[in-house]
């Protein structure tokens, strides 16, 4: 089985509204820097900046409320809410870090569409059919700390599905559906960090299935969710 390699995409300058992220990524990597099957992971924050999803506001909690479809829990200066995309996260993803004072970054309106656009532009610029994941840092129930997860996906199936397969002992592998998109997003975080200015990473060898996948497929419908 092949090795997986995760490299930071360094040298992308501060992103402004309207910037072409694919162009910035290709400029940073070089034209031959992408191969078919690669996954490009991009931090949500720069996608939001490129899409002008940074607003003049200072009241994070009020903004978080306005970005929420539903508030699940309140605690101190934070809410855990469900966004209009169906993501469950702190403050509906509204964040002041790495944006100018007096402004707040909101999640992209449609991060799957963002991923598809960057993917199409990367294919146009380089000829390489790569996958794109837009990643954000979410907390989890039951476990301390946050990890990066996929909020936008294009060009791969976000799952590796073992249902119906059998192990070496002939047992069916039940309910084993790995969310490789989240594992890739988390892995990429290791080279991106939070304050180092690295807003994208290249993951090679992950072996995800090329398909029309979307992060919307990762959202557990409320009707099937035991914890909402």
């Amino acid at each position: 089985m092949t090795e997986v390699r995760i490299a930071p995409i360094s040298g992308i300058p501060e992103v402004a509204p309207g910037d072409d992220l694919a162009e910035l990524i290709v400029a940073a990597l070089g034209e031959n820097g992408l191969l078919a099957g690669d996954v490009v992971v991009i931090a949500q924050k720069v996608v939001s900046k490129a899409e002008a999803r940074v607003v003049d506001a200072t009241d994070r909690l009020a903004t978080a409320h306005s970005e929420s479809a539903r508030v699940l829990r309140r605690t101190g200066e934070m809410i855990i809410s469900e966004t209009r995309h169906g993501f469950v996260c702190a403050n509906a993803g509204v964040d002041q870090s790495n944006v100018e004072r007096g402004r707040l970054a909101l999640l992209p309106l449609d991060p799957d569409a963002s991923a598809r656009r960057v993917r199409a532009r990367l294919a146009h610029l380089t000829g390489a059919e790569v996958a794109v994941i837009v990643a954000d840092t979410f907390g989890r129930a039951w476990r301390i700390g946050q990890t990066n997860v996929a909020i936008g996906v294009a060009g791969i199936d976000p799952f590796v599905d073992y249902r119906g397969q059998t192990d070496a002992f002939g047992h069916e592998l039940r309910a084993t559906r790995i969310c490789i998109a989240d594992e890739i997003a988390g892995a990429a975080e290791m080279v991106m960090g939070k304050s180092g200015g690295v807003c994208a990473a290249l993951v090679r060898g992950a072996g995800a299935r090329v398909a029309r996948g979307a992060a919307a497929d990762i959202v557990r419908p409320r009707s099937e969710d035991l914890f909402r």
Copy 2:
């Protein structure tokens, strides 16, 4: 910033009670296969096998109940429970896949101790101070699919803590405490798979801080948990 590389540790034979996992890993990797700072990720299933935590039983649900400290949810043939370690997962981690018919694998009694033992043996056998993570495949609230997470940790801080640091705009990075142990465990899953017989992986370049960490530190205390 350095690249992260994740390689399968192939060629480990079927593990039996009493087997020395560190010896099997060194035999598979070669004596010079480990470097200081590497993280060795081992699947929970082989740790359970080596520690004779595989029992004669066929009623998975009954066994899951007996392995649970508390049942949070019931659904069909599955429970979501809190284990005695404090982990929240399906069926208290009780699993029939990749064990003989008529038997069920339980979680290690103390996966942090398991990780520490393997780490000490690896240091003894190779002279390399590596970290060890015991990984299992858990579902999540709100999101479809499972990812590998750390249930045992030795030799690294499971977190990268950005609290108190500032971004390029002078904002404090609030509540940003990345669970790198879970990100490493999830990344390793990409080369381990579920049915391919690869029960360990080597992660190089993750940059986790060498420390006396434990997966018990990742368990969110029930008193601070908004979803339990």
